[in-house]
């Protein structure tokens, strides 16, 4: 009797899933790709570098005196909120980029490769975190030049940055959903502006809640943008340096509420986005 040993492919070859290590490497590659894109598209860099600086300068010098009495006092109040607002706008690039990939066929190309299914999405979101970190740094730097001072310590500041990045991570799913549903990348941008402008302005980013009409105040107070801005003010500026109108008793409440909001947004929009993406492709 002869034993025939047929050449079989190695079991690893047939494993239906891509290993986590491989997936992480592919995610890094795709994040790199998104970052390199910026080099050839200076407009985008302008969007999350020059635009926030413009906002800081305009609001501080045009409205600052009227709202807070002095520009430096206004900056102390407004800068953390402007950072929050800017963070939300930047998340829209996740959707714009995803939509570009979907409409140009790049997404299908990536799907036809033997890479982890989640790598393209994870790569985009990771790249977004880099952009977020960059613009938080930029806004803090320009704020310092104009007279903004960190009233707390390094750890509190890092906690604020961490909270912002975490919130960005959660809010990216809203952007992913818009990116999947929109017909073309311009529509994603359009949505970003039309939906995010009211949401960010109907908050205490630029003016204290107490100056607003009574019917508006509960809306503003419960807006997650207000809550996250309060958390950032408390973590960056602290209690002492902030004027009474904008006084936040402690960082704990707004931080916890922000975390709950982030978790809720992710819990709703992540499954919704994945479902919409499955339907589209």
């Amino acid at each position: 009797m002869t034993t025939v040993t047929a050449a079989r492919p190695a079991p690893a070859e047939l494993s239906p899933r891509v290993g986590v290590g491989e997936g992480v490497r592919q995610t890094m590659t795709l994040a790199w790709r998104t970052i390199v894109q910026v080099r050839h598209n200076p407009w985008e860099l302008g969007d999350y570098s020059i635009q926030p600086i413009m906002f800081v300068l305009l609001f501080t010098y045009v409205f600052g005196g009227a709202i807070a009495g002095s520009t430096s006092e206004y900056l102390t109040f407004a800068l953390p909120g402007i950072i929050v607002m800017n963070m939300l706008f930047i998340t829209m690039y996740v959707g714009t980029g995803l939509n570009t990939d979907l409409t140009k066929g790049v997404f299908d190309r990536l799907r036809s490769l033997p890479i982890a299914r989640w790598a393209p999405m994870a790569g985009r979101i990771l790249a977004d975190q880099v952009k977020q970190a960059w613009s938080i740094f930029l806004l803090l730097a320009i704020g310092m030049v104009l007279g903004f001072r960190i009233g707390t310590g390094v750890w509190s500041l890092l906690a604020a940055v961490g909270l912002l990045l975490l919130f960005a991570l959660a809010f990216s799913w809203v952007s992913v959903l818009v990116g999947v549903l929109a017909k073309d990348p311009e529509k994603v941008q359009l949505f970003g502006f039309t939906a995010l402008f009211p949401v960010t302005f109907v908050s205490n980013v630029f003016a204290p809640t107490s100056t607003m009409p009574g019917w508006l105040q509960p809306i503003v107070e419960n807006n997650p943008v207000t809550i996250l801005s309060d958390a950032c003010r408390a973590l960056m500026v602290g209690d002492d340096t902030i004027g009474t109108e904008w006084h936040v008793a402690s960082a704990t409440t707004p931080v916890v509420q922000s975390l709950i909001w982030a978790a809720a947004i992710a819990a709703v929009f992540a499954p919704l986005s994945v479902w919409a993406l499955r339907r589209r492709v």
Binding site: L14, P16, L30, Q37, N41, D108, L113
Partner: protein, 312 residues
């Protein structure tokens, strides 16, 4: 010969619109197979199912020996896909696009550099390698797109309408690239709405019409299935034409060009009989040619309508 692609009973519907209605086809390894059909016939849907991008509703599809639904990963390892729209990242340079593909494939970093350089050279993109792909012409994008597909050295390549929208020169370049790939032993699955393209490139052609394969075979087999093959004889004088027309009553004459069209199946026996008959009457034609219908005629005969079908 081994089969690179085996499809049987493939069905796919979007909602209640049936796009593929029971497709059967086989592609031999190392050949060019062309799926021919007008817009909306279901070509792209077929490619999407075969490349694991879309799940079929029914039937079995095996690519490179693996079931696409059950084992998508080994299928993805074996294939390369160039979709209908040049799927290049316009914000990256040509070189960066290729590098991206290298980094996403299990190629060594050292080999990767060499592969990128070779592909840029091979596709004549060296000069524009540092330019963003957004500045490329349609033909260059297509070439870059195909170069990106080749990074992982796939054994089976799907090209979905690779020359649609290209100028004649870029089309010829694309054709020669396809021929080179096949010479290297790669299997090509090509969809096209250009009949001459299928005729020139493909070893076998399947004609897809409204979700069904209406004919399958070599381009010549398809042409032979049609009536209409004929021999054309050209004479030097009207007298000779008259004489020939008298002995060949089936023929149709064209007095202006002094030609006679004689229906024939194109086979050697009937050709010999025709020539013998001319010889018998001491007639000689100045020019003799066998005309077979092109695939445009094939399409019309097989589907009852031309290739211009309005998509719904």
């Amino acid at each position: 010969m081994t089969k690179a692609i085996e499809v049987s009973g493939l069905r796919k519907a979007f909602g209640d619109k049936i796009v593929l209605d029971g497709i059967d086809l086989d592609v031999e390894a190392g050949t060019v197979f062309s799926l021919l059909g007008p817009n909306g016939a279901g070509k792209t849907t077929t490619v999407n199912v075969l490349t694991t991008l879309l799940r079929a509703d029914g039937g079995t599809v095996r690519v490179a020996g693996h079931d696409v639904a059950a084992e998508p990963k080994p299928v993805r390892r074996a294939i390369g896909v160039t979709g209908q729209f040049a799927a290049v990242d316009e914000l990256l340079t040509g070189e960066e696009n290729l590098q991206l593909m290298v980094d996403l494939s299990p190629v060594d970093a050292k080999d990767g550099k060499r592969i990128v350089a070779e592909l840029l050279e091979r596709f004549d993109l060296v000069e524009s390698a540092q330019q963003p792909a957004s500045t490329y012409s349609g033909g260059m994008r297509r070439k870059l797109d195909l170069a990106m597909t080749l990074v992982g050295s796939p054994r089976i390549i799907f090209l979905d309408e690779p020359t649609t929208g290209l100028d004649p020169r870029s089309r010829r370049t694309m054709w020669s690239i396809v021929r080179d790939l096949v010479a290297d032993g790669v299997t090509i699955f090509l969809t096209t709405q250009y009949l001459d393209e299928a005729d020139k490139l493909a070893y076998r052609v399947a004609v897809l019409d409204q979700g069904r394969i209406v004919a399958q075979g070599t381009p010549d087999e398809l042409k032979r299935r049609l009536p209409g093959t004929h021999v054309q004889l050209r004479f030097t004088t009207a007298e000779e034409l008259d004489a020939a027309a008298r002995i060949l009553p089936d023929a149709t004459r064209d007095d202006e060009s002094l030609t006679l069209r004689v229906p024939s199946d194109g086979g050697t026996a009937s050709l010999r009989a025709l020539l013998d008959r001319l010889d018998e009457y001491s007639l000689s034609a100045e020019e003799f040619s066998v005309h077979t219908p092109d695939l445009d005629d094939v399409f019309l005969a097989l589907t009852g309508h031309g290739t211009e079908v309005p998509t719904t």
